[in-house]
Symmetry: C2
Subunit: 294 residues, 2 copies
């Protein structure tokens, strides 16, 4: 890897306007970039959806983080569809100042701890994950490759793209513990990127990495009009990345009945009861735990 | 107490449209009132702010739960100002079907557990609290009497009014554990109201009740333009109802400095880092722990 490969690292926050840790950090680093300055590349900051940040909402017209795939921009007049094009013209592969790597900062209401989410199998992203995890063992790596969905996330505009997702936190709140955790993961990513930019031999080659690989998602039980018929079972709530065995409770129905996991395989749920995913028809996803050799 | 005193109990939910437990329960009990039916009075259900519930927002124009005092309705054209008048015309003391008691269901992003909030010293409210606490010892009673503010809450439209406030939960999410806890507290209140309506001698007379009595509130440190200069300190986060000693950390400043509690008295913080209170200038309130004789 040569220094030309990593010229510009983009840190994005406020992609969702009600996730305050990312927008707070980006605003702070815009004022004082010293903590995110590294040798070998330029660090750029992006407040991705300033209008949504100002209004304290996830988005104005549509989810910006599902707007980067042309096919997904079904409403080209939407504020976020226009904003996505603007971001691509600046930082995309053909942009004015193309990003060599993207770190996009998010929060979740689910108990996801410090999560590192990647939507492709780019070896660089996996090796960076392994290196961060060596220094921050709480980090969990979620490989969210969904063959049924195009990758329309901001972190996917270039191959070296990562979403840092921390929780649990309500929206429109800053929890100091998760703020500090996010800062720590970002700085570790930047340290790894610096070594890569400076041509230091990658210490993670040949190492192993535990990842949680997306299998599928489950919606809430609903009636014909889409109204919820159940809530996430109290025994499943907060158990992100914990094993879900066949027969374990998943939902608590209105009438008090418990629904149970009916598949044969032990899986690891993620994004359990994320506020923003009710409208996406997603109560939780399940992943397989795998060990990858880098 | 005679049966004529309690004729009609109003259960309100969705006073804030992004607090889903209350609106969920009210919608459910509108369909099937059996769980909230008691002898001696009629139980009425109110989805207090249906427009805000439909939009998944706390309010449309202004906070409905600060709109019941005429002086506080400074924007009479606001949707919530009109809605408050409508609710008063139906359930207020001079209304068509005046409520004898009100239970208003709320959630908070703060770690308030199962809280019972009263904004007056009506002995009935205190005795009902003591009775509920006897059967649900996790209940905490917060006496939120702020001499500097008029009582403009929905629960204050009649003297026997209580806000049931559960947390921590993100907004726009239903956590089953807190849903079950809210249901339990409501049912215990209704059982007590039933005994009162039927003229059963009050078992709580002469008993003691531990309450947390509001002292004052603290805002976040801010710059001249109102921007936050600090976040709630990680050592204070989630420690609602836990003693705060002089010298204990309160805020973590942008530059890493820790601010500390500077008063002499040991107090008990509540509503620590509630999402909706950033705009109200309230990072946390502090209360005194007192024992009242009923």
């Amino acid at each position: 890897m040569t220094s030309r490969e990593i010229e510009r690292v983009l840190i994005a926050g406020g992609t969702h306007g009600n996730e305050w840790i990312g927008s707070w950090l980006v605003k702070r680093w815009l004022k004082d970039p010293e903590p995110v300055r590294r040798r070998g590349f330029e660090t750029l900051m992006l407040l991705a959806n300033p209008e949504a940040v100002a209004r304290h909402v996830r988005y104005v017209d549509q989810d910006l983080n599902r707007s980067f795939c042309p096919a997904s921009s079904e409403t080209p007049g939407a504020l976020e569809a226009r904003r996505a094009q603007e971001i691509l013209r600046r930082f995309g592969p053909e942009g004015v100042t193309p990003a060599s790597a993207v770190l996009d900062l998010h929060t979740t209401t689910a108990n996801m701890g410090l999560s590192y989410i990647i939507t492709n199998r780019e070896p660089f992203n996996l090796r960076m994950a392994a290196w961060v995890r060596r220094h921050e063992p709480r980090l969990r790596v979620y490989l969210w490759i969904d063959e049924t969905l195009p990758d329309s996330a901001l972190s996917g505009i270039v191959p070296r793209g990562v979403t840092i997702e921390v929780g649990p936190t309500p929206n429109n709140v800053i929890r100091a513990d998760l703020l500090i955790g996010t800062e720590r993961v970002v700085k570790l990513c930047l340290d790894y990127l610096q070594d890569a930019a400076l041509g230091v031999a990658d210490p993670m080659s040949g190492e192993n990495l535990e990842v949680f690989e997306h299998v599928r998602s489950y919606d809430y039980p609903r009636d014909a009009s889409g109204q919820l018929l159940a809530v996430v079972h109290p025994d499943l709530q907060d158990r992100d990345y914990q094993p879900l065995h066949p027969g374990d409770p998943t939902f608590l129905m209105l009438d008090g009945e418990t629904l149970r996991y009916a598949e044969q395989e032990v899986v690891y749920p993620v994004f359990i009861n994320e506020a923003a995913y009710y409208e996406k028809g997603l109560a939780f996803s399940v992943a397989r735990r795998r060990t990858l050799s880098l």
